[in-house]
Symmetry: C2
Subunit: 517 residues, 2 copies
């Protein structure tokens, strides 16, 4: 394989793609990718939060291994990403869009020192070579797009907010996209100048410029993530369309788990608890997805025009889903499938993958599989002393994988969330939750609280929490045993690789002789 195009959306629910079964929204270009590759129908992230989930995609490691357990919490400097591995191999992973990477204080100090043996890209950008970085309104990545908007004539001290993410009231005043009541308005930006167009253009330009050399690009859309406001014509495209029913069971909410009850105090849940809010927001969410789909078509067209389709591995996915009012929740974080399950499409142009094109693979795939899949596709070392996921290429190429995983895992650290205060937990309380999901069951273990248990085979909507039901203790024990087995195999010996381990084996340093008579 010569090239890699790793496309990520932000907060895109799997069931909003028509190739994942949505009857409400058509996504022809995502569907076209699925037709050319394999769509993993049981793909799960390792955290329902942007930062930790992305670091798991980028490192191939679980949040409890890479350490970035919530947004704005950095990984230790010792953690490396697939971008670092590519640069070690003399290649590079370029970035157009969002990563949510946060440099640690030690990484910043090492970079200031200027001589740690690692590049600024590695220390400050998570191993990505930045074409353009776009983190919405976050200081870590707002300048590139701000300059672009200013050069395009958009005024104001914060054109991202005032134009790209706000509408206008009839009197011409700014209607902030942060307020969901404005979700029906058109963003005050020409669609070709919108965020989705901007990062797509950066990718298209990159693909054209690098047509004659091997390349790897992470095209990372910040949409359909908040603010829920779309440029014309997408703002109005689904305003009158039929919507998915709201997945809700108020009886189960009445006696729910204390951590979930605490989350209901969050602003996003207070708002999405109201059906009219949900109905008002969803059309904007759908429009933002359709806009990405249209621009995805432009990107794929350029790949084709420049003759690179047949030598480019494409991975299309999202960092997590979105409650959108299901269960009366907004945003994400918690362990329901609508948050944890994501679209994951892998297009391998090699002949070895011809037999699986257009198929749907129901085996469990995970965010941690993407980094090893990229390394595998490029023929680079597997970094097995660090990477905890597995390459998906054997599945995509129809090879035997008898010992493939039969469950997936995800994590949450809510220490920085209002829910901790609501629960009256001190700052040093361990506020973590741990999900293990098999085909039929989902267990969520909570430090300091009883577990949750759902029998997905009979209760796919996760309405009936069996976590406190004595009858299901054997199930909880077998699910807990899976969680323990998983914890005991996480990669903790990261400072030496397996070549070093083999060289050390049964081989003490010179002059050391233990145990001889």
């Amino acid at each position: 394989m010569r090239n890699v195009l790793f496309i990520m959306c932000d907060q895109l629910r799997a069931d909003y793609l028509s190739c994942y079964g949505s009857p409400w929204l058509r996504t022809p270009n995502m569907d076209a990718l699925a037709a050319r590759g394999v769509a993993f129908t049981q793909a799960y992230v390792q955290s329902g939060v942007c930062g930790p989930s992305r670091m798991s995609f980028y490192t191939g490691r679980y949040p409890s291994s890479h350490g970035a357990t919530w947004n704005f919490i950095p990984m230790p400097m010792s953690e490396l990403t697939v971008g670092d591995y590519l640069s070690q191999a003399g290649r590079a992973l370029h970035l157009a869009g969002k990563t949510h990477f946060e440099p640690s204080a030690e990484a910043t100090a090492a970079w200031r020192g200027g001589a740690s043996g690692r590049s600024a890209a590695s220390l400050l950008q998570g191993g990505f070579e930045v074409v353009c970085r776009h983190e919405g309104d976050l200081p870590t990545g707002k300048e590139d797009y701000r300059r672009y908007l200013e050069s395009a004539g958009y005024a104001g001290d914060d054109p991202w907010l005032q134009h790209a993410n706000s509408g206008r009231h009839p009197d011409g005043s700014v209607a902030s996209g942060w307020q969901m009541r404005h979700a029906h308005l058109a963003a005050h930006v020409a669609e070709p100048h919108s965020e989705t167009a901007y990062v797509s253009n950066a990718a298209i330009d990159f693909i054209r410029r690098h047509r004659d050399e091997p390349w790897s690009l992470h095209l990372s859309y910040i949409k359909p993530h908040w603010p829920y406001i779309a440029p014309a014509p997408y703002h109005d495209m689904y305003r009158r369309a039929e919507q998915a029913p709201i997945r809700r069971n108020r009886a189960s909410e009445a006696a729910e788990h204390p951590v979930l009850a605490a989350y209901r105090s969050h602003d996003e849940c207070r708002s999405f608890d109201q059906e009219d809010v949900v109905r008002h927001v969803r059309p904007a969410y759908m429009g933002l997805i359709r806009q990405i789909d249209d621009h995805l078509g432009r990107v794929l067209e350029v790949l084709e025009q420049t003759g690179q389709t047949d030598r480019t591995l494409i991975v299309f996915t999202s960092d997590h889903g979105d409650f959108l009012g299901d269960y009366g929740f907004g945003e994400k974080e918690l362990f329901h499938d609508v948050v944890q399950r994501v679209p994951l499409i892998v297009v391998d142009p090699s002949a070895a993958a011809d037999a699986t094109r257009g198929t749907r693979d129901r085996r469990f795939a995970a965010a941690v599989d993407v980094a090893p899949t990229i390394l595998d596709a490029l023929g680079l070392p597997a970094q097995a002393h660090r990477v905890e996921g597995r390459s998906l290429l054997p599945l995509v190429r129809g090879e035997a994988a008898d010992d493939w995983r039969d469950c997936v895992f995800s994590e949450l650290d809510y220490a920085t969330r209002r829910a901790r205060h609501v629960l009256g937990r001190p700052r040093d309380a361990d506020c973590r939750g741990w999900m293990v999901r098999t085909a039929d069951w989902k267990l969520v273990a909570w430090n300091g609280y009883r577990p949750q248990l759902f029998h997905l085979a009979e209760d796919p909507d996760e309405f009936h929490d069996l976590g406190a039901d004595p009858a299901f203790e054997p199930v909880r024990q077998s699910m807990s045993a899976r969680l323990l087995a998983h914890q005991l195999t996480l990669k903790r010996r990261i400072a030496v690789d397996l070549d070093r381990i083999e060289a050390m084996t049964d081989n003490l340093p010179p002059g050391i002789h233990i145990g001889q008579w």
Copy 2:
């Protein structure tokens, strides 16, 4: 507290101290420490191997957190030790003796770069300010003592081996201490020039020189660790003394766990499987301990002479025990109490500890408690986002500790050991074992193999492995639940402290508004 004296022996079994009940060997100075402080009778290390155990002492973290899972495997550069914490506070933890610290490749690169914001002591010495470093014959710490021996007139290209750790044959030729058949000989070094005397002298000189300022010193003896050879008169002191019986049950060895069976192929086990070898070696081991005890008396005397006894916290312990032929094993590593249980004496000179002086505390203490105990004694930040142990001072001061732990945990990674080859496991196989020990039970979980289970209340010698007995499945499940709960509370969010967590809580970056209608 003004000063800290953190004394560690290497491979010292708890039951070889008279204050820990040994009828075979008198250790008057260790006993005197116990009389002045608290002797923890159930103190356990977090690994039965020098390197990982010491890194747990120094970081306050379990091996699966600090990452140095066997000797010569470095911690990631992001791991910090109690020495680093002291230097952050404008103090220092000085070193006389052994640490087994190995700098990682990234730490070495950062140091070469010379500008990572961390000192050479932090990057290359595990946070210790080196007075003298002595790692026996290891290149990481042999030069200081080599120069000392040369200056004292000892000839040869390796005076450590040829003099300090070897005897002489009647014909005057070198009888290497590495060969246990020479354990009865006197080391060919004057006792005042031996390793134990050398590091004691360094400590005594340090204590005298720093009498007028606050200080912290890690006095770390490499003995009674191999080679088992002692200088006169200690080589002969116990040659005719009564020895402890060899703890052995050949019936249980006949059907033992595959990992234990594989360990029997190691040289040290082949040798210690023979009773005459055991009987020949133990007197040297006992002599080396008595030698340390005598020099410990010198150190404590200088502390008293310089008027620092009443302002110095003393911690005395060992990094692990030694099989010494029990179970037919030599060395350490495995999870038997003779390896995992160590002496741990804490002498707190403050009046608050007067009520506990001379008492024995049967609550579980752990190696990871030492770093937080030192931080607590010096009134320094607890580093609760990283440190996994607890300060022992509340126990030593007789304060309420109702929620004190009721079990301890230890780990082993045998990936670099011959046992892995004997078991036919590939280099990428997960070769880890995990112990959880309560007052009555010990479970050892092995990745890839059945667990071991011992009912210590009825089988204190750990002869009868109930790991495969169906009748004890409920016990295995409850012990596994403890191991899972432990794993789920290990500290993984190490790049930000709890002040930062509190500041972040319910507080998004400026301009970000999620969830508002």
